[in-house]
């Protein structure tokens, strides 16, 4: 799976070229909006895949990391006027830390228990943010309309920049996912999926677990932040 045939590479290239050309061929802003949202969800899916697809640990609370990323970058923007690009990375880092914190104790959980734990975590985050006045409680944080610029990550006249940025990040996410699957960690994940017991024997479980969580989160956050930005446009 890591040795792509020439045929596969060409096909991939063609599809990529099509996606790049698409918004220029179909100028409808609604269509571009749908594609942007599609890319965003695709990124989420890719991020989730690192844990769910490879390691077989289904997590349903991913949205929490999404939200944390979104809130982090929005909060930094509103309070400290930090550029969304930095906010993006900040969101990622905070999510990673939180994920490690949660991931470690949860690494013992199997299948369904883990799934519910992830939902529990997601809900806790949601409730806290809904009531925490620092981040706007129920009203949330509204990003004001800033001047259009790349630095501000805000484009008014057209959705094209958002489209390409999202596409670029999606490719980045896929690349990271691919890198994980090709690495030693990826093999450990697949071992976990096949059988927790066997993987434990191989003594890889613990580390693999929470690193997975962390990585996946890393991606998830990046998504989120993207999403926020998508939400802004």
């Amino acid at each position: 799976m890591h040795d792509l045939t020439a045929k596969q590479l060409t096909l991939g290239g063609v599809v990529l070229a099509l996606l790049v050309a698409l918004p220029l061929l179909v100028p409808s802003p609604f269509f571009q909006h749908v594609m942007i949202i599609t890319f965003m969800f695709a990124m989420c899916g890719v991020a989730w895949n690192v844990m769910g697809g490879y390691a077989g640990m289904f997590s349903f609370g991913q949205v929490a990391f999404f939200g944390i990323g979104a809130y982090t970058s929005s909060f930094l923007l509103l309070t400290f006027q930090v550029s969304p690009w930095i906010g993006l990375l900040a969101g990622g880092v905070i999510s990673a830390i939180l994920a490690a914190a949660i991931g470690y104790p949860c690494s013992n959980l199997r299948g369904h228990y883990f799934a519910i734990a992830s939902i529990a975590f997601g809900e806790i985050i949601r409730i806290v943010f809904n009531n925490w006045h620092l981040v706007g409680a129920a009203e949330g944080l509204t990003i004001p309309m800033l001047k259009e610029s790349l630095g501000n990550f805000m484009f008014h006249s057209s959705k094209l920049p958002y489209y390409y940025i999202m596409l670029a990040f999606l490719l980045l996410a896929i690349a990271v996912c691919w890198w994980v699957s090709a690495s030693k960690m990826g093999y450990y994940f697949r071992a976990i999926k096949e059988s927790h017991e066997v993987a434990e024997v191989l003594d890889t479980q613990f580390e693999a677990d929470h690193i997975t969580v962390r990585l996946r989160i890393r991606q998830a956050e990046l998504d989120q932040v993207r999403k926020t930005l998508a939400g802004r446009q």
Partner: protein
């Protein structure tokens, strides 16, 4: 102090309702490893059945219990045979998505044929509130709790003391071994799903005596249900029962003592702490 006791009492009452909902879900989950997202919507169907029997036939919801049980049993069996069994051999995710789809379909179909408006049953045989030296006990809620205890006990006895019941437990513990022993696991699957649905139908009849009824009411109980099942340990009936009461009490007392806005968060924290200490839930294996 008085208020604290009141909160505790109410917590137990609502907890027992949760318990009844949870045992149906845990049975299905334990036996077939399928998370039935449509559980809340089956509850809604049960509630509506009781409502229509009351509105059109003047039948008190308590008498609709056996009707609900049978109707939901058949409905469960039907849905299992024609929808869920088709994806049992597929990946776990497919099963989840299918039940999710059933959930959306049932809720919206109900909204279509019955309109999304709210209904309620006003005059039940046993209604009103008892005042026990300052502590208010809602009679319908109390009756529902008794109903829940009785039903749970019946289920428990069925599983422990009848042949079929033991077969179900066997499949829950180890599917392959059960097959080797000659148990028809496919039949057990559909039976469990049907029983789980019947249980939730009974819960629907009991809830209808004091809760509002509308097509999207399933969503209100769904998430808490999953949490309770996990807390109690998948597949464990006693676990789900205890966890239900526990969640009811923690939710109510926690909301009263701290802040109602965070009451669900408190429940989830309790869940996380519990599984960190005991990864298989309270009574799971």
């Amino acid at each position: 102090m008085d208020q604290l006791l009141q909160q505790l009492v109410n917590g137990v009452l609502i907890g027992l309702v949760y318990s009844l909902l949870a045992i149906g879900l845990t049975l299905v989950w334990g036996v077939m490893n399928v998370l039935n997202f449509a559980h809340g919507d089956f509850l809604m169907i049960g509630m509506f059945l009781s409502y229509w029997m009351y509105a059109l036939g003047g039948i008190d919801p308590l008498f609709s219990i056996p009707v609900n049980a049978v109707a939901l049993f058949l409905m469960g069996m039907f849905i299992y045979r024609f929808i869920i069994s088709k994806v049992m051999h597929g990946p776990g995710l497919a099963q989840l998505v299918v039940t999710f789809g059933v959930s959306i379909f049932i809720a919206n179909f109900a909204a279509l044929i019955w309109t999304p408006n709210f209904r309620s049953i006003e005059h039940t045989l046993l209604s009103g509130t008892w005042d026990l030296s300052g502590i208010k006990l809602s009679i319908p809620k109390f009756v529902s709790s008794i109903g829940s205890v009785v039903t749970s006990f019946l289920l428990f006895s069925f599983l422990r003391y009848t042949r079929t019941g033991k077969a179900i437990l066997a499949v829950e513990m180890d599917r392959e071994a059960a097959t080797i022993m000659g148990i028809n696991t496919e039949r057990i699957n559909s039976l469990s799903f049907a029983i789980g649905s019947a249980l939730v139908g009974v819960a629907g009849a009991l809830l209808a005596t004091h809760y509002y009824i509308y097509p999207f009411v399933g969503g209100t109980f769904g998430l808490i249900c999953f949490c309770i099942v996990a807390l109690g340990g998948f597949g464990s009936i006693e676990g789900a029962f205890i966890a239900g009461i526990l969640v009811g009490v923690v939710q109510t007392l926690g909301g009263y003592i701290f802040d109602p806005a965070y009451k669900l968060a408190i429940v989830f924290v309790m869940y996380l702490v519990t599984v960190w200490i005991r990864p298989q839930g309270l009574r799971g294996w």
